[in-house]
């Protein structure tokens, strides 16, 4: 008889594999949690990738601009009188040589007329001839990296070459941009934190609800001598898998949407947002995100179960 049983042993492998001692896969609580985690993850992916690409953009722009400035010598004076090209060029040359002798300046260069034409043609059109229109003089400056420049002193010094000379430092709009990306990064952190809190609250609630529904089964396990950890393991595994699944689906949808948006932006050539491309590391972070959410859910479930079980004698 024993031999017969031994031969028959493969039958002992239940076709439907037992996953949990509690009927956790029944009911709709799991799909609610999955959908919630999916939506949360999409939100998180949006917030994070917006923050990622804006940080990168700011960095690129500010690294190119922060130690640069331009001096403009307009072709008309403050009263609107046209200044002759020769005079403009003379002032530009003077300023260039003054700047070249300045201790804080690394390079100073007069922009050639063709460069200026290239710069303004998108706005004025190529047909415009510059024959009778005097061009402004532009001197671009690159400061030495480690210098703190006092622009007020520099500008007043430059104005001695001509009342209408202006110094353009990019400083103000760059500061605005930094403020903007700073706010966006803050928003991303805030959203991520909120998502974390939502995960904790939702999982703790779901676990408590499950434990209330299956209190008879829990009591049975308890009476059979199942330890708190044994029971907690089941609910934490369930929470991890459920949230990971929901979050992974959310991540896939989120990433697809991000790439579609990136592609659309490229198609429309919106040059204001240079590239909506994420780096490899950033994509990895977004892919790992569901695991973080799953782990967070797992830890929450464990704590909740242990707290609830400690009420049992």
């Amino acid at each position: 008889m024993i031999n017969f049983i031994k031969k028959d042993r493969s039958l002992g492998v239940a076709k439907e594999k037992r996953k949990y001692d509690l009927p956790l896969n029944k009911g709709s609580g799991g799909s609610f949690l999955k959908i919630l985690m999916g939506l949360m993850t999409i939100l998180a992916i949006f917030a994070l990738s917006a923050s990622f690409s804006l940080s990168e953009m700011t960095e690129r722009w500010s690294s190119g601009l922060e130690n640069k400035a331009t001096v403009e010598i307009p072709a008309e004076d403050n009263k609107g009188n046209i200044i002759e090209q020769v005079v403009v060029d003379k002032i530009a040359l003077d300023i260039e040589s003054f700047l070249k002798g300045h201790p804080d300046v690394e390079t100073a260069e007069i922009m050639r007329p063709q460069e200026i034409k290239d710069l303004v043609s998108p706005w004025l059109g190529n047909e415009i001839t510059f024959e009778n229109v005097p061009l402004p003089g532009i001197v671009s400056i690159k400061f030495k990296d480690d210098k703190e420049i006092n622009y007020t002193i520099l500008e007043s010094r430059l104005k001695s070459f001509g009342e209408h000379v202006r110094l353009d430092t990019h400083g103000t709009w760059l500061a605005d941009l930094l403020k903007f990306t700073g706010a966006l990064n803050f928003a991303a952190i805030l959203i991520s934190t909120l998502i974390g809190i939502t995960t904790v609250v939702a999982v703790a609630g779901a676990v408590q609800a499950r434990m209330a529904v299956y209190d008879e089964e829990l009591e049975l396990l308890h009476l059979m001598g199942a330890g708190d950890r044994y029971i907690a393991n089941q609910l934490q595994r369930y929470s991890f898998i459920t949230c990971l699944q929901g979050s992974a689906i959310g991540a896939i949808i989120g990433l697809i949407l991000i790439f579609i948006i990136g592609w659309l932006l490229k198609q429309r050539d919106i040059s204001l947002l240079p590239d909506f491309n994420l780096s490899f590391v950033q994509i990895i972070i977004l892919i790992i995100l569901p695991f973080f959410i799953g782990l967070l859910a797992m830890v929450t479930a464990r704590q909740t179960v242990l707290r609830e079980l400690s009420k049992m004698p």
Partner: protein
């Protein structure tokens, strides 16, 4: 093994269901727990399987005062007790096999051993062809056999069965009683709650604890008069 001293039990603010219970069960003994319906058999069982603490008095088990045990110690004790509940308490989302295997999994046995043991026992109680079936698709008698198999699979030191033969035809009923007898001979202390007089007659060699009016009386097989246990202390 088990000692009750002036044990009383009440549910909430209700009257005492059991009052002043006194008895001692030596290791390796076999007792029927009898009494009319509502006399408190199930209630007494629930204290024995550590599902409920007495509301007064002292209860000790395996030489330990149960009221002073911590959670870890209670867990260890519970793993040494096998219970057949009156309402079975099977888990309907898992197969008959998994139900019976549950206590072994809880105590962390290797899966290979579990499979061999459970299969052999299922064969023995006549459920060999029902491994994958869900309990709620099976007959009352079959469910009861699952419940019994689940209670004995760990070879517990104490086996408690609450009306275990109520739903069984005679042949299987006898078979399960023989199973309890065998376990008992191997050293397990057995307490079976029953008001089935025919069954108790058949196994009249075993002692009886009789519950009446919240008190417990011991009846030895050879004795004809009830002996009030309370007077022994």
């Amino acid at each position: 093994m088990i000692k009750f001293e002036h044990v009383g039990l009440r549910y909430g603010v209700g009257p005492e269901v059991l009052s002043d219970i006194n008895f001692t069960l030596e290791p390796g003994t076999f007792h029927f727990l009898s009494g009319p319906s509502g006399s408190g058999k199930t209630s007494l069982m629930s204290m024995l399987y550590l599902g409920r603490q007495p509301t007064r008095g002292l209860m000790s088990m395996f030489g330990k005062n149960v009221g002073q045990l911590n959670r870890q110690e209670l867990k260890k004790l519970r793993q040494r007790i096998g219970v057949v509940f009156q309402d079975f308490r099977l888990l309907n989302h898992m197969s008959a096999f998994d139900n019976i295997a549950l206590p072994l999994r809880i105590s962390g046995q290797p899966e290979k051993e579990i499979r061999a043991n459970v299969e052999e026992l299922m064969e023995w109680v006549g459920l060999g062809d029902h491994r994958h079936m869900l309990p709620n698709t099976m007959s009352g008698g079959q469910q009861q056999r699952i419940a019994v198999a689940r209670a004995v699979i760990t070879r517990p030191k104490l086996l408690l069965a609450d009306e275990p033969t109520g739903n069984l035809d005679d042949e299987i009923g006898l078979r399960l009683m023989n199973l309890f007898d065998q376990l008992n001979r191997m050293g397990t202390t057995v307490v079976i709650a029953s008001h089935n007089t025919v069954l108790m007659q058949k196994f009249s060699q075993h002692d009886r604890i009789i519950l009446d009016d919240g008190q417990a009386y011991l009846e030895k097989p050879q004795q004809t008069i009830k002996q009030r246990l309370g007077s022994m202390f």
